[in-house]
Amino acid sequence: MSDILNLSRRGFLKGMVTTGALVLSVRFLPSGLLAEPAPYAGTHADHSTLHSGVYVGIDTDGTVYIVAHRSEMGTGIRTSLPMVLADELDADWKRVKIEQAIGDARYGSQETDGSQSIREFYDAMREAGATARLMLTRAAARQWNVPESECRADLHTIVHASPIRRLSYGELTMAAAKLPVPDKKELQFKPPSAWRYVGKGMVSYDLSQLVTGQAVYGMDAHMDNMVYASVEHPPVLGGTIKSYDDKAALQIPGVRQTIPIDTFKPPHEYQALGGVAVIADNTWAAFQGRKKLNITWNNGPHAVFNSDDFKKEMQATARKPGKAVRNEGDVDAGFAKGGKVLEADYYVPLLAHASMEPPVAVADFRDGKLTAWAPTQDPQATQDAVSKALGIAKENVICHVTLLGGAFGRKSMPDYIVEASLLSKKVGRPVKVVWTREDDIKFDYFHAVAAMYMKAAVDDKGMPTAWLQRSVFTPIPSTFDASATYGGDDEMGMGFTDIPFDIPNLRVENGPAVAHVRIGWLRSVANVYHAFAVQSFMDELAHNAGRDPVEYLLALLGRQRVLDLKATKYPNYNADYQKFPIDTARLRKVVEVVAEKSGWRKRRLAKGRGLGIAVHRSFVTYVASVVEVEVTPQGEVHIPRVDTALDAGLVVNPEITRAQFQGANVFATSLALMGEITAKNGAIEQSNFNDYPVARINEAPRENNIYIVESAAPPAGVGEPGVPPFAPALCNAIFAATGKRIRELPLSKASLKA
């Protein structure tokens, strides 16, 4: 593959001799509003003099262009992955320019979710950096006519030790570009002691743009001659237009036309929802026109969905035998032996992502090609979905990725880009589709609603001898297969089949549930409800045993071991289990660190306050949190402090990692305290931040302390794993403070009045 890329690089090189400067000059984007350089002509890296692979290019002036192929939604990935490459190249960060890739399979996966960007591409970035460094080193050695081994890289230059001489990367690009791209086997990697950036970190490449309003999000994308669209979607999933009257809408100044959009054919996947689009000269006119539409709908079969009834059905299902997905020992025999049995039911409702930037996209269909500018977590999935919807080849879908104003999984589903694409084709000019906050809340791909049943038989010391846990939730597979009612192995493997407790007789089951709304991934996914059930039940057992929860938790984790899950379907977040096993020593370690750092054993708390702990491994990262809660006599909940310890293997960018875990604790505060989506007759009842509140500065944890445990393990995920332990730790703290056990989220539904 390298050879092919190298040939194409040489093709560019030939052209560059005469037109190089020109090619580069037209490729610079103006800051502020985006202009469309059409047709798309590749990255600066592609056009650079030395182009040793898809991710990097170096120009004669020494500028290093690094391609960020993953999407930036606030995790810092646009900085951290290029930083790994720059380090291995020994480039001067000040001379690095990062450019965002369009959707293109040549970069490998661009699906920016699952907390896997660093894990999946750490090696690829190092290889790309080492490859370019070796070519520059070789070029210098040839120029000086000395052995390669006498030359080394030193911050954007190649140095020869004796006699001392130096050539800059810029000076070497022309000669290096004539060399063949070396084989992977020839590469030598820097030892950790020589790392300049990895493990030390860099602030966001976009930081100054982010604080000056210059950063360009999907909401800010612009094309010449563009019109604006707002879409009235069917209130019930799969509903269709019976009739509509747009006379009043067309009277609104600035409204140009209305366009009906066909409802998807099941399964809905990433198709447009359907409805009626109002096309206007500006966003406001489109919103106003929409309010004047008079539409009668056929609601279809999902109008049966009522959250209260559905909850009862799910809880009943959770009490019935389900499909076993993990079996250790003999659970039925374990329960038959008698002894004390504890049972508990837990419930977590539907949740919406509510990223600050609602779904939005600009699309331009012309000459059989579709160009989109959009905040998407997955530009290649966008290419697929748009090509299917428009009936054009995938290569004819050019998806530019803007910054994402938050995403949390929502923007892995590109239905809103499909919507803009369909409309552009019909209108014959660029269309910007802007979802209102109400559209965002009502028509999300929701986080599943889940009911869990937990049952344990305990011995006279309170330790479990048999354990049954059953999970029932509206599964994500229903988005891709309308008949799917059982969870996927990945969902069950998020904190349920991988329960790490040392119990001789254990069974994990899954029960069916029919999804009546679109279900998708939300930050940490099924771990949210599974960790809530497992870690809350752990605390219930600790109190039953009359033991300190930290001591009891450590006892449950048991002897140090790597979990043997060979007999179980366990995807392990698509990571190799040999490289990323479930190691209880690492779970114990984060528990011990957080107990010590939080002062678990020493902290004196005022009346009405309590501490709770939870530990959870997700996205191959180990996290334990201790939450301090204050419950006022009126039943108000305050969170003075949270301490979180994490083992994410090698942490590439520590400061950004700390920020991710702080943010995860706040995200989890929202879902624990106040997050709930409900439906009536198939339509979502919430609409905006008034009835779907999220945590504000006065509700978020006041102190938010993050401890990174030193680890020799390979890099793991940091975007999501902070979320799961927070809610159970908080609810366990509430039990410690008040004696009231919370088995259902959000807390706003519980009565905590003294």
Partner: protein, 151 residues
């Protein structure tokens, strides 16, 4: 015809007086640093200054702005970065950054009237601004730093 000043420039507006300032700034003037988040003054992403005071552009109608002096994030400081923006950078506040224009405009308005806010004053002033990424701890620290106090 509504006359107003936006970032020091005289402007006149002839359109629907019911149009919120937010869409005038974004769609007509191309000042996209001010963000849409909710349309109901619930999230603060659209915060700008009217005659030095923080307002929510998403619910402020153009018809009510005759003679007003509007400042947006793009013009917060004519000479380089405002101290609040510097503090934001020093504390690595932004994650996705989408809400931060509004957060910064709100914080600047707070410090204009209350140069040394305590925790409670910070929470009262900032609780109308949602950050879904959860940067609140850093926002608090940055405001204190900008006020010249140790966080």
């Amino acid at each position: 015809m509504i006359r107003l000043k936006v970032n020091g420039v005289e402007r006149s507006f002839n359109g629907d007086p019911g149009m919120p300032l937010l869409w005038y700034l974004r769609d007509i003037l191309g000042l996209t640093g001010t963000k849409y988040g909710c349309g109901m003054a619930l999230c603060g992403a659209c915060t700008v200054h009217r005659d030095g005071k923080a307002i929510r552009a998403c619910v402020t109608r153009m018809g009510a702005l005759a003679g007003s002096n509007i400042t947006t994030i793009e013009h917060l400081s004519a000479a380089g970065l405002h101290p609040v923006q510097k503090a934001w950078m020093e504390h690595n506040v932004p994650q996705c950054g989408y809400c931060q224009s509004g957060q910064i405009m709100q914080a600047v308005a707070l410090l204009n009237t209350t140069p040394h806010p305590n925790d409670q004053q910070i929470e009262e002033a900032m609780s109308g601004n949602i950050c879904r990424c959860g940067t609140y701890n850093r926002i608090r620290a940055a405001i204190k730093a900008a006020a010249g106090e140790r966080a």
